[in-house]
């Protein structure tokens, strides 16, 4: 669908850990979903900014009221500050695509978890007020399916930090019965890894941010290709510890719930199409980058038949690219109905 030059379309994947934006002017950006405000006047003077976003915020966290405002893919409950943080995050994402000062209409498609409640969707829509002219909310796995044109007899497993969203595509807009949201995702791996390391190395100190970094560098399932040895501190001294087994166990903890849910969703598909769905399973999201995950999932699903699991080319941007594709394909009339 053609849009005039005065209009810019964006797809936004608002993630618990990272948020990405893809714009029709070709810009694509990803930021860590952290927002922080200086704790006091001294911090404000040092930081020289009213608010910090992303990695910059994380690195200055000792001086900030640091927020990771999304939980399980939606704005945390009950906190006005978190709602404000999401607004700042969205504002920052949009500022990155380089349209500031230009009088362009902004049409945004925002991905939310498949089973996000209506109230959560309304909160995200409200957060976009004043940032975009029109907003459309779609489920994250649907955005991925749309972007990869896997719309018929396909399944998308979108594993982020807060949630794993699984959606079976049957040539129609997925209903609630076609989608599932699980909490077994990147954050649950972090928590398990932290608990396991604390148990095995009671004298060592572990920070959740370091755990996340280790996971992003060395996460794997199945047989390890190399030992994972990290440096941390114990009694004020640096020590090296081997976390290979802990890492594998934590990462593998998401395999069973995901494969169980896949089985459940496949069982709902008409029998003659079940194998076709299994032949077209698409894996996306930051946590899908865990080493060996497609193979292990394939093995876990083997009792259903031979599954073909494909990792999308760009897992981090698959959601926002899909959102952009939807935004572009929607007509002017459609967008007019969704103006804020």
């Amino acid at each position: 669908m053609a849009h005039d030059d005065e209009t810019i379309c964006v797809g936004i994947d608002l993630g618990t850990s990272r948020s990405s934006i893809s714009a029709s002017n070709g810009a694509r950006h990803v930021v860590d979903s952290y927002v922080g405000w200086p704790l006091d006047m001294v911090a404000r003077k040092v930081i020289k900014k009213d608010v910090l976003i992303g990695r910059e915020a994380l690195e200055s966290r000792s001086m900030l009221d640091l927020r990771r405002p999304l939980e399980n893919g939606v704005i945390k409950d009950g906190s006005e500050r978190d709602a404000q943080a999401v607004r700042e995050l969205l504002r920052h994402l949009v500022s990155l695509i380089g349209i500031e000062g230009k009088q362009q209409k902004l049409r945004a498609v925002v991905g939310v978890p498949a089973e996000a409640m209506k109230t959560s969707r309304l909160r995200i829509r409200a957060a976009m007020d004043g940032i975009a002219d029109s907003v459309m909310l779609v489920s994250e796995p649907f955005a991925v399916a749309y972007g990869t044109e896997a719309l018929l007899h396909a399944m998308v497993i979108d594993i982020g930090a807060g949630t794993a969203d699984i959606c079976v595509m049957q040539g129609r807009y997925p209903t609630e019965d076609d989608q599932r949201t699980l909490p077994n995702a990147g954050d649950s791996i972090d928590q398990r890894l932290l608990a396991s390391l604390q148990e095995h190395h009671p004298h060592a100190q572990f920070a959740i941010h370091a755990i996340r970094d280790w996971k992003e560098k060395w996460s794997f399932v199945g047989e390890p290709r190399r030992r994972v040895v990290v440096t941390t501190a114990a009694d004020g001294k640096p020590i090296e510890i081997d976390i290979t087994d802990d890492m594998r166990a934590a990462c593998e903890s998401i395999v069973a719930p995901i494969s169980e849910t896949v089985r459940d969703l496949v069982a709902r598909v008409e029998p003659e199409y079940q194998q076709r769905v299994l032949n077209n399973v698409i894996l996306s999201g930051g946590t899908s980058l865990i080493g060996g995950l497609p193979e292990v999932l394939k093995s876990a699903l083997s009792e259903l038949g031979k599954a073909q699991i494909t990792l999308v080319q760009d897992p981090v941007f698959a959601g926002s690219d899909g959102g952009l594709a939807i935004a572009r394909d929607a007509s002017d009339g459609d967008w007019d109905k969704l103006s804020l």
Partner: protein, 338 residues
Amino acid sequence: MRSLENTKRQMIRAVIETNLENRTAKVRRKRLRWQMLRWARASLVTVTAVLAISSFVISRGKTPSIIAGNVNTSAVHHVFEPRTVEPSVPLTAPGDVNLSILPLSVKRIVIDAGHGGNQPGAISSTGLAEKDVTLDIALRLRRLMKQSSFEVLLTRETDRTVTLADRVAFANSNKADLFVSIHINSLQPHSIRPLETYYVGASNDPQVLQLASLENRQSGYSLSEYRQLLEKVYLDVRRNESRALAITVEAALYRSLKPLNPKLDDRGVKMAPFAVLVGTQMPAVLAEVSSVTNDEDVKLLNDEQYKEKIAVSLFEGISKYANNLNSSGKRGDAPNGT
């Protein structure tokens, strides 16, 4: 290609419709708030009128049937009933309006033995399968429940495969009041011995119940709108009640099992959108009662007394929740201020 473009167009149309429905819901919520204010004003007038009439009735040797602290509009109809009671009944200032709706009681409980048939679940190093232990405990629990006033149904009574969808459908079609799924954990490292109980994700809108309650009394909505409203209330209440049930079950399990299993780790209640929790239409919990990856736990799971203890604990937790609910006769009275 044309077919793909058509499919895309249809999907975008569906997305737009869904988005518009959500926006309509927002407008409806604003209307609800406005109606709530109107209702509050109206009820204030009603309560004042009732008090005035009641005072008049008392002065003539009659008593009002409204009880302070539990005023409702239906009470107005009883004020004029010619009932002879003590004239000295004190008439204190009215308390908060009771917003509870749809009194809930527990009669029929569905017990779900996790896994089964060609889905063994977790298996210990000694070959103990989760599906066998969960069935054993479920059968014990059924025996205990049958001895009480509950009606109990099992999703499976033998070692057979039952899909998650069928388990959900079984509970829903039997109109169960509670759903309790029994599972055994499988976790790394093997040394941990966790005990945890799950319920479906928490509500994001605490006002929905109150709004719907008010709307029950003064409905300006069409039947379909009203049904949608009640469904939202039901979702919220179900989550809250599921959490309350999870708390009592987890507490009962930990209290009873800890003396026999001192290293048991109480991991508390957690939210999770497991298929059986999401799909069921009644308060539902999933209890991970032990761990097959821990050798000591496996030893205990081979012990008849320990399995009986788990069943008894589950029974106690469920009974406590049900009795609280049945005796309170209203929602929201569950432990821990759900």
